[in-house]
């Protein structure tokens, strides 16, 4: 019974976490008429950090700079810029910090692969420890 309850709570937390729609800050006058272009703009905005709030994307932030950047992204899409060009424009000015997901680079190798190394070490220790305790 208790296990059932815990399972139910865990499932609901999972649903709230992954399927909730974050409230967006995009204002009606910003939205592009072309739905495909608007979708592209939304996808890019979700990956761009609001430099003022820092833990929100510009898609969710009400900060004036976030709005400026949303409009800038939409203008660039209308002008026919590719997604990579828009990302490059932003990182050239604000650095990699503006991307919510850090890029895989020589300087970020530790960030991306240390968790796996720690995991491997952990597995090794558990395995080694178990083997030893069985003997006793």
């Amino acid at each position: 019974m208790m296990i059932n309850k815990i399972f139910l709570i865990a499932i609901s937390i999972f649903f709230v976490q992954f399927f909730s729609n974050n409230p967006l800050a995009v204002e009606p006058d910003e939205i592009l008429h072309d739905q495909k272009q608007e979708l592209r703009a939304r996808n890019i905005s979700k990956n761009i950090r609001c430099m003022i709030c820092q833990n929100q994307s510009i898609d969710e932030s009400n900060a004036p700079l976030a709005k400026d950047l949303r409009i800038l992204i939409r203008n660039k899409i209308k002008d026919g810029d590719k997604d990579e060009e828009i990302y490059k424009f932003l990182t050239d000015r604000y650095g990699d910090f503006i991307l919510l997901k850090p890029p895989l680079k020589l300087t970020t190798l530790a960030l991306w692969f240390l968790p796996f190394i720690f995991f491997a070490i952990g597995i090794f220790i558990v395995f080694f420890h178990n083997k030893k305790s069985k003997k006793i």
Binding site: I52, L65, D68, L72, R93, Y94, G95, I121, F128
Partner: protein, 176 residues
């Protein structure tokens, strides 16, 4: 042999901890971000000049002398606080001070400068914040130092205080 190997994770963990402690104890402002434009050329832009009857063209204005570029607005309180230090910079003979008026009202700005004094040799107007984005500005006031070759050498985020004034002055002295 295997027992000795077990000490490796412990060493790595201690190193990570040490690093965290260092970052905690070091005097720094975690919300202040390094500029991506350091050691790069000044961004190209053209804007209306607030006081002169002509356009401000960046390619003609940078590259001759050391320039201090200050993003300011009348609605920004810290800008008022740092104004006296900007004036001190404008008294120095070897540097030129330029103020970029960020998302502001022209009339209010002229009145504000009349009241507080105008330290700027030229004031390009950034009506929609587009120039600020070119400079990677994320919160005004921000101050940049551009060397005589037109390359950005330093950025300060937030109001200039007594300490940061001294620091910026030292950087300028080193560049001369």
């Amino acid at each position: 042999m295997k027992k000795k190997l077990l000490i490796i994770p412990f060493i790595i963990f201690s190193l990570v901890l040490l690093n965290f402690f260092y970052l905690l104890l070091k005097e720094r402002n975690p919300s202040e971000l390094p500029s991506n434009l350091l050691n790069k050329n000044v961004p190209k832009f053209e804007a209306l000049s607030l006081l002169k009857n002509k356009n401000f063209v960046s390619s003609q204005e940078f590259g001759n002398e050391i320039v201090l570029v200050n993003f300011f607005a009348t609605w920004c309180k810290p800008c008022r606080d740092e104004h006296k230090y900007i004036k001190l910079f404008s008294n120095e003979k070897k540097i030129r001070v330029i103020g970029i008026n960020y998302k502001d009202n022209t009339k209010k700005t002229i009145k504000w400068l009349k009241n507080l004094g105008n330290p700027y040799s030229d004031i390009p107007v950034d009506k929609n914040g587009r120039i600020a984005i070119e400079w990677g500005v994320y919160g005004i006031p921000e101050t940049f130092i551009v060397n005589s070759k037109g390359i950005i050498k330093y950025r300060h985020v937030g109001a200039i205080t007594k300490t940061s004034y001294k620091k910026i002055n030292l950087i300028i002295k080193e560049m001369e």
